[in-house]
């Protein structure tokens, strides 16, 4: 078992899922409640990583992180470093790649909140931020938990984007899925099996937790 890769993967997934909570909630609120005609365009952008081959996304992110692009050169001027093949680059790529896995459950949760409750809060003098903070988010919190768990699990299992953007640098960008690939290439099947089995058990446990929690909440809501 490559403990360094395990710790790096846990660090990456934790950071990405926290960032996705902060970024995903406002995006999901907008998607759930906006009446803009062009909303479908933005929704499609959010959902793009689900359909797009990871290599395509990884390629364009690599281009964007390069010093020839406006974003890449701006980042280099600000920090003196490039984003490609670094942990920070991996975090940005993972946030974009896992965005739909965080946003979609939240949107479904927000849309399920009874609009009359929001209207009632409005007639009681509450502006949108108060309505979201005190009515929508507390009532939709199971969907927030779902979004958090899915984005965490998805980040742990990423391969294509990680390899394209981060490469395979031990202690910096080598995650567990890359480590399995390395071990298989070196014909070290036993080690690959240990790591793969760890990921399998972890993913299954996480999904059991998610579905168990949802079942409990459904029963609780039906009381």
């Amino acid at each position: 078992m490559n403990w360094q890769a395990l710790i790096l993967t846990a660090k990456l997934a934790s950071l990405v899922s926290i960032i996705l909570m902060l970024v995903g909630i406002p995006i999901a609120l907008w998607v759930a409640y906006s009446r803009r005609r062009w909303k479908f365009l933005a929704e499609s952008v959010v959902a793009l990583p689900i359909l797009l081959p990871p290599t395509v996304m990884g390629f364009y992110l690599l281009v964007a992180f390069g010093s020839d692009s406006a974003f890449g050169s701006w980042y280099q001027q600000m920090t003196g470093r490039t984003l490609a093949f670094t942990f920070n680059g991996l975090v940005i790529a993972s946030v974009l790649y896992s965005l739909p896995f965080a946003v979609h459950p939240m949107v479904a949760g927000f849309r399920a909140v009874d609009r009359k409750l929001m209207a009632a809060a409005g007639t009681l003098g509450a502006r949108k931020p108060k309505v979201y903070l005190q009515i929508v988010l507390p009532l939709a919190w199971p969907s927030l938990v779902t979004g958090w768990i899915l984005s965490f699990a998805h980040t742990v299992g990423e391969f294509g984007v990680v390899l394209m953007v981060g490469g395979n640098i031990a202690g910096s960008t080598r995650t567990l899925s890359i480590d399995i690939y390395d071990q298989v290439e070196a014909l070290n099947y036993h080690s690959a099996n240990v790591t793969a089995l760890t990921l399998l058990v972890f993913s299954y446990s996480l999904l059991c937790l998610l579905y168990g929690l949802n079942q409990k909440l459904v029963l609780w809501g039906a009381r």
Binding site: L117, A119, T123, L124, A126, L139
Partner: protein, 234 residues
Amino acid sequence: MNVVDVRIRKTFATARRRTFSLDVEFSVPAGVTVIFGPSGSGKTTILQCIAGLDAPDSGQISIVGEKFYDSSQKLDQPAYARRVGYVFQDLALFPHMSVARNVGFGVRVNRTEKPRLVHNALEKFQIAALAQHRPAEISGGEKQRVALARALACHPRLLLLDEPFSALDDELKHGIIADLKRWLHENAIPVLFVTHNRAEARIFADRVLLLKDGKIAGEGNIQEIAALQPGWVA
């Protein structure tokens, strides 16, 4: 003196791809005004336009001289700025909050003053003992009391009631209406009350607006309406 002046024109789609046109103009004096009409006559839409939850196609709405909506001036104040209390037909209590938090949601005073005002509203509607219960843990009649206390605790300029008593038996209804009348009398809050139940209109109304097919078909006090319409008893 009129408290509310309303001119609303709105056309909207109903079931089976039909359109329905609402075209009403009326004024509401102090006291309780009942909008009486059958289901689908546009009663709830009128209340929602006044509260800012829906927008007319054109018209004007002003409350105590202050204009909230005027299509000619493109003025449309949001619901949170209107200070209009609204009790929904299904009450719309916040299920994750206690009764006390529901009632205190719209109360905007300092932290030391707020518990006193909330407790006062709970006392007036005889639900102080339920303060820490959640809506799912109380009866239908108690929920009605919570919804009324919540709408009135923040001292609205106008109270809109959208058939909130339709699911209650007569005994409960009379008790709640008595408490409500007491509060309204003490605080001089005008009421616009929507119903299709004549008995409710008779016990509660100072004035009745008859709504038919999206238009005002008659108005007056109960005696005047009884003289005009068959089926009404003064």
